[in-house]
C-alpha cells in the first residue's frame, strides 16, 4: 500500500495544526457556528443527534493492521470503544468530544491517516473495488490511480467550496463493477485502447440521493497521463456552472441533466483544450513512483490447493459454505481473497468494536501480509490468503464471529446508521436490518436464494444505497411516524439500474413479512440459475405487487 514520504506526512501534520487552531477559535467564540461548519466538515466532523461524528478517510478502502490497531486505540481513548465502517469504505466514530478531535486527528497522522475532505462540499475519498490488485480479470490495478487522485484532490485550492459534495470511483475489472462507478459524480473505468495504451472511460453525473441517476459517458478513452487535467476541467465547469440556489439540485448530475450530456461534454472538452498538456499532466515517472507502492506482496510460488480444499470441505460442511460465499478467486495460483463478515445479528451493519478491530488486525498479520480492505458492503477483506491456510483462517475467524457465510446474500445487508444516530434520518434503519436478518436466519435457505443485495437507507440521502439494492428499503416520515418504502430491481454493477418503487410504504413491523412475500414470488417463478434481480427484470413489478398488497381473507 502507499507509504507516506516526508511531503505527505507534512501535509497531514500541518492539517492537524490548522484544525487545532480553528477548533480553539471556535471554542473561544471567534468563529460562528455557520463559519466553523465548513471548516470542521472538511475535516470529517459532523454535529450529530447525540454527539459529534468524525468520519475518518480510509483511502480507497485500504488499511494496514497497524492502522486498524490505532483506530482501536483511538476509539477506546476518545470514543465508546467501537467504530462504524461505511458504504464509502471509511470509518466513523460516533461519540467523540469536539475538544478531543484535534488529538484524534494527531493520532491518525501518526499512522499516515487523516479525515481530510470526508465531508463538506468538496472532493471526497476516492473509492474502488475491494478486490483491486488481486482480480483475475483486471485491466490494471486501480489503486495507484486512486492514490494519484487522492493526492491531487487533497486540499485542492480551487475545489474546496463546490456547489455540493463530489465523489469519484475507479473500477479496473472487465467483468464486474464493485465500485459502482456509474453511481458516482465521476466514474472512471480503466480501459485499453486499440493500441494497447492504458486509459479511462469517463462517466459523469451518476448518483443516488433524492434524484437517483445513472452516470453518462463523456469520454470513451482518456489517456492516463491526462487524468488530472481532465478531472480539473470537469470540476471547473461544475464549480462555475453548478446550481448553488438549492442544495437538492446542486450535484453535478443535475447540471449534466439540465445541459444534456452533449452540451456538458462540449463545455468540458472546451475547458480541457486549455488544460491538456499543461502543468497538471502526469509524468510517467510519477505514475511509476506511485505504482511501486502497489506491487505484489511476497507471494510464494504455489499451485491451487484444490485437492486439499476438497478434502477439507468434505470434512467441514460449514467450511464448504464459507468457501462458497466468502472466498473469492485470486490472480495468483494458491491464493484467495477472503471476506470477513462483520455483520452479525443484533449488531449494526458495519459496526466493529476495538477488540474486533484488534482481532482482524491479528488475522491480517497472520494470513494476509498485514493488510486489509474495507468493502462498500461494509465488510472487511483479507485479500492475499494462502489457500492451504483457509481452513485455519476460517477456524480463527469463527472464534471472533467474522465467519458468517452470508456474503452477497439477503442478510449481508448494506445499511446506514439511521435514525438511531443520524440527525438527517427520517427513520431508523438498523432495527429493520436486524428484523430481516432474524427472519432469514436459515443459511441453507439463503444459499438457495443466491446473490441478493438488500440495502436500507434511513432517509432519501441514500447513504445505505437503497436505490441500487436488488431490494431497497427507504425510511420515510409521514406526519411524524416512521414508514418504509420498498423498491425492487436496483443494480449497482455494469447493468446499472435504479430500483422501482413497489407501492405504498409499510410499518416497520411489516417489513420482514413483505420481504418474505417478495422472496416467495421469486422462488415460485425463477428459472434455473436465475438470480433474483433477473427474475424481477423479467416479470416486472406486478406479480410482486399483487402478492405484497393482497388483502388478507
Amino acid at each position: 500500500m502507499y507509504v507516506y514520504d516526508s511531503f505527505d506526512q507534512k501535509v497531514v501534520d500541518e492539517r492537524v495544526a490548522q484544525f487545532r487552531e480553528q477548533t480553539e477559535r471556535y471554542l473561544d467564540g471567534q468563529l460562528a457556528d455557520d463559519e466553523f461548519l465548513p471548516l470542521r466538515l472538511q475535516n470529517g466532523l459532523y454535529i450529530q443527534r447525540h454527539a459529534p461524528m468524525l468520519r475518518i478517510a480510509v483511502p480507497y478502502g485500504l488499511l494496514s493492521s497497524k492502522q486498524l490497531r490505532k483506530l482501536a486505540e483511538l476509539t477506546e481513548t476518545y470514543d465508546k470503544g467501537y467504530g462504524h465502517f461505511t458504504t464509502r469504505q471509511n470509518v466513523q466514530f460516533n461519540w467523540p468530544a469536539l475538544e478531543d478531535v484535534p488529538d484524534i486527528l494527531a493520532g491518525l497522522a501518526d499512522v499516515q491517516m487523516h479525515a481530510i475532505q470526508t465531508s463538506g462540499n468538496c472532493i471526497r475519498n476516492t473509492t474502488t473495488d475491494q478486490f483491486a490488485g488481486v482480480l483475475r480479470d483486471e485491466i490494471a490495478d486501480p489503486r495507484p490511480w486512486c492514490e494519484l487522485i487522492r493526492q491531487w484532490s487533497t486540499l485542492h485550492p480551487e475545489f474546496a467550496f463546490l456547489p455540493r459534495k463530489f465523489k469519484i470511483a475507479v473500477n479496473g475489472s472487465t467483468n464486474s463493477d464493485r465500485a459502482a462507478v456509474r453511481f458516482h459524480d465521476i466514474g472512471l473505468e480503466l480501459v485499453r485502447n486499440d493500441a494497447g495504451e492504458l486509459g479511462f472511460k469517463v462517466f459523469v453525473g451518476g448518483g443516488l440521493g433524492r434524484t437517483p441517476l445513472v452516470g453518462q459517458e463523456v469520454r470513451d478513452f482518456l489517456p492516463g497521463i491526462h487524468l488530472l487535467s481532465y478531472l480539473e476541467a470537469i470540476l471547473r465547469v461544475y464549480n462555475l456552472l453548478g446550481r448553488r440556489d438549492n442544495k437538492y439540485k446542486a450535484r453535478i448530475k443535475i447540471l449534466v441533466k439540465a445541459l444534456g450530456v452533449e452540451a456538458f461534454r462540449d463545455k468540458v472538452e472546451a475547458e480541457w483544450a486549455h488544460l491538456k498538456d499543461g502543468p497538471a499532466t502526469l509524468t510517467e515517472a510519477e505514475i511509476a513512483r506511485v505504482a511501486e507502492h502497489f506491487v505484489d506482496p511476497a507471494y510464494e510460488n504455489l499451485a491451487d490447493a484444490d485437492a486439499i480444499l476438497a478434502q477439507q470441505k468434505a470434512d467441514h460442511p460449514g467450511f464448504a459454505q464459507w468457501l462458497d460465499r466468502n472466498v473469492y478467486l485470486h490472480k495468483k495460483p494458491g491464493y484467495a481473497a477472503v471476506t470477513l463478515s462483520i455483520k452479525k445479528l443484533g449488531y449494526a451493519p458495519g459496526d466493529c468494536t476495538a477488540d474486533q478491530m484488534r482481532s482482524v488486525a491479528h488475522l491480517a498479520d497472520q494470513f494476509s501480509f498485514g493488510e486489509l480492505r474495507v468493502s462498500h458492503e461494509q465488510n472487511l477483506i483479507l485479500a492475499d490468503v494462502r489457500q492451504d491456510q483457509l481452513l485455519e483462517l476460517w477456524e480463527a475467524a469463527k472464534l471472533v464471529g467474522f465467519a458468517t457465510a452470508n456474503i452477497g446474500t439477503l442478510t449481508d445487508v448494506i445499511c446506514c446508521p439511521g435514525g438511531d444516530y443520524c440527525a438527517l434520518a427520517n427513520a431508523k434503519s438498523i432495527p429493520i436490518a436486524e428484523s430481516i436478518q432474524a427472519q432469514f436466519d436459515d443459511l441453507d435457505y439463503l444459499y438457495d436464494l443466491g446473490d441478493l443485495d438488500l440495502n436500507i437507507s434511513g432517509c432519501m440521502n441514500a447513504c445505505g444505497h437503497h436505490h441500487i439494492g436488488n431490494i431497497g428499503i427507504l425510511g420515510v416520515d409521514k406526519k411524524g411516524e416512521e414508514f418504509y418504502q420498498v423498491s425492487l430491481g436496483g443494480d449497482s454493477g455494469q447493468n446499472a439500474r435504479v430500483g422501482k418503487i413497489l407501492g405504498p410504504s409499510f410499518n416497520a413491523e411489516d417489513i420482514p413479512a413483505v420481504v418474505d412475500k417478495v422472496i416467495q414470488v421469486y422462488t415460485e417463478n425463477r428459472q434455473p440459475e436465475e438470480a433474483f434481480v433477473d427474475t424481477v427484470e423479467r416479470l416486472g413489478l406486478d406479480p410482486f405487487k399483487e402478492r405484497v398488497y393482497a388483502k388478507s381473507h
Binding site: 511531503f7 500541518e14 490548522q18 493526492q151 485550492p157 480551487e158 467550496f161 462555475l240 497538471a280
Partner: protein
C-alpha cells in the same frame, strides 16, 4: 477599503473605493472599483475615472471582463457567501487563461481560513470583514508548506519529487 491584506501585509492606506451600484455617486479623483455594468456605461460615455477597477458579482464570469483587463488596475471578486466557491475558479481563469497581471481582490463574505486557497488561485488582496479577521487571515496565508497541486505560482508536487 479597510482591513485590507495585500502583498502579505495589513494595509491601512488603501485608496480604492468600492462603488456598490449604479446610483452611488463617484467623487472626483476617486480610485473606483465599479460594478461591471457601470464600468461598461462609463466607458461607453468616455467618462471613466482615472484610476479604475471593476468588480464581478457571483453570476459574472472571467470571460465577461476579458476585453477590458488591459484597462483596469484591479479586478475584485465578490463572495456573496463564503461557501460560494466560484471565485476560486474565476481567479484561476483570470491568471492562467487571460494572463491578467493586475491586482485580484477578494471582497464580500469570506473567511480568514480561505485566504490560503484564494492566494493559490491568484487572489492577491483580501478586503476582510473586520480587523480581527484580517489579522487572523494574515497568519493563515501560509498554513501549508506543501501543496500537491500546481497553482498560479508553483508547479505540482509530483514535478518536484
Amino acid at each position: 477599503m479597510q482591513n485590507l491584506i495585500k502583498n502579505g501585509a495589513l494595509l491601512t492606506d488603501d485608496a480604492w473605493v468600492l462603488i456598490e451600484d449604479d446610483s452611488t455617486n463617484i467623487a472626483e479623483n476617486t480610485a473606483a472599483i465599479l460594478p461591471l455594468p457601470r464600468y461598461l456605461a462609463l466607458n461607453e460615455a468616455n467618462n471613466l475615472p482615472t484610476r479604475v477597477g471593476v468588480w464581478l458579482n457571483d453570476e459574472q464570469m472571467a470571460d465577461d471582463v476579458a476585453d477590458l483587463l488591459d484597462k483596469v488596475e484591479l479586478v475584485a471578486l465578490h463572495f456573496p457567501k463564503f461557501a460560494d466557491g466560484r471565485s476560486f475558479s474565476k481567479a484561476r481563469l483570470l491568471r492562467d487563461r487571460l494572463g491578467y497581471q493586475g491586482e485580484i481582490r477578494a471582497i464580500g463574505d469570506f473567511l480568514p481560513d480561505q485566504v490560503d486557497y484564494m492566494a493559490r488561485c491568484g487572489i492577491d488582496a483580501f478586503a476582510c470583514r473586520n480587523e480581527q479577521e484580517a489579522r487572523t487571515a494574515l497568519s493563515m496565508l501560509d498554513t501549508f508548506s506543501i501543496h500537491y497541486q500546481g497553482d498560479v505560482s508553483q508547479s505540482a508536487l509530483f514535478q518536484q519529487r
